[in-house]
């Protein structure tokens, strides 16, 4: 398996988030995947679109549900040098949200720009 491995391979990875947190576990387990990817020195992109933008909504408080509030972890991504976070503008607007509602710095781009960005990726992982 190792024969084709090039130590310096850097691919453009994108983790696409379209699902909201807590109703399903995907948001949490994608985040665990993103954290691991940091160890591989790849060019990591995270896209938040459709209901995925709710993952980074400010003010999450899961105390009454007894579930783990993992939203602070998005703030820790910067410490792992994962800084390419993209949010689709149309999806924010459809939900009555704005950039001020988000708990991490992101680049807000249009649907057309998101489509172009996705087209540049080597590996797209979705859940």
């Amino acid at each position: 398996m190792e024969d084709d491995f090039e130590a310096g391979t850097v691919k453009k990875f994108m983790f696409v988030n379209r699902k909201p947190p807590y109703g399903t576990v995907y948001a949490l387990e994608v985040l665990e995947m993103v954290l691991i990817s940091a160890a591989f020195d790849q060019d990591v992109h995270i896209a938040f679109l459709d209901d995925g933008i709710y993952q980074i909504k400010k003010g999450q408080d899961t105390k009454d549900l007894g579930m783990k509030n993992f939203s602070p972890t998005y703030r820790a991504l910067e410490g792992y040098d994962i800084e390419k976070l993209f949010v689709e503008r149309e999806c924010l607007e459809e939900r009555g949200l704005s950039e001020d509602d988000l708990l991490v710095p992101v680049e807000v781009i249009s649907r057309a720009e998101m489509g172009k960005l996705m087209a540049e990726m080597d590996v797209v992982l979705t859940a």
């Binding site: 807590y22 399903t24 576990v25 549900l65 007894g66 579930m67 783990k68």
Partner: protein, 119 residues
């Protein structure tokens, strides 16, 4: 009042099992009876004996087990759905029992209200 509860999804992947547990707990706290909780479809996976979630998260299986122990709640896992998914006597957590789908229909007949939690 007697409630019957149907749980359609497994632990962690969907909130269904958590929601069902919180509903059951609130009903008991208000003096109602839980006639039965029936686990069907992927819901049977709530009865796995091997789940070890991270210590900073809730333990869905233990929540159900404690509810059963404290309030004698009948936790029934569908035998056919369990066989498909690997929930059999050898992998069953204490507090759950395996039985047939008839137990679900019976719950529908005998409970005053039947409520489903799923995906």
């Amino acid at each position: 009042m007697k409630f019957g509860i149907l749980v359609n999804e497994g632990p962690y992947n969907h909130q269904a099992s958590d929601s069902a547990y919180r509903f059951a707990k609130a009903a008991i706290d208000k003096g109602h009876e839980i006639f039965r909780v029936f686990f069907y479809y992927d819901g049977v996976l709530n009865a796995t004996a091997h789940s070890e979630p991270p210590s900073d998260d809730r333990n869905v299986i233990k929540n159900w087990q404690k509810l059963a122990a404290d309030h004698k709640v009948d936790l029934v896992v569908c035998v056919a759905a369990g066989l498909r998914r690997g929930i059999v006597e050898a992998s069953l957590a204490p507090g759950f029992r395996i039985s047939g789908l008839g137990q679900l229909i019976e719950a529908g007949i005998q409970a005053d209200r039947m409520i489903t939690f799923g995906d």
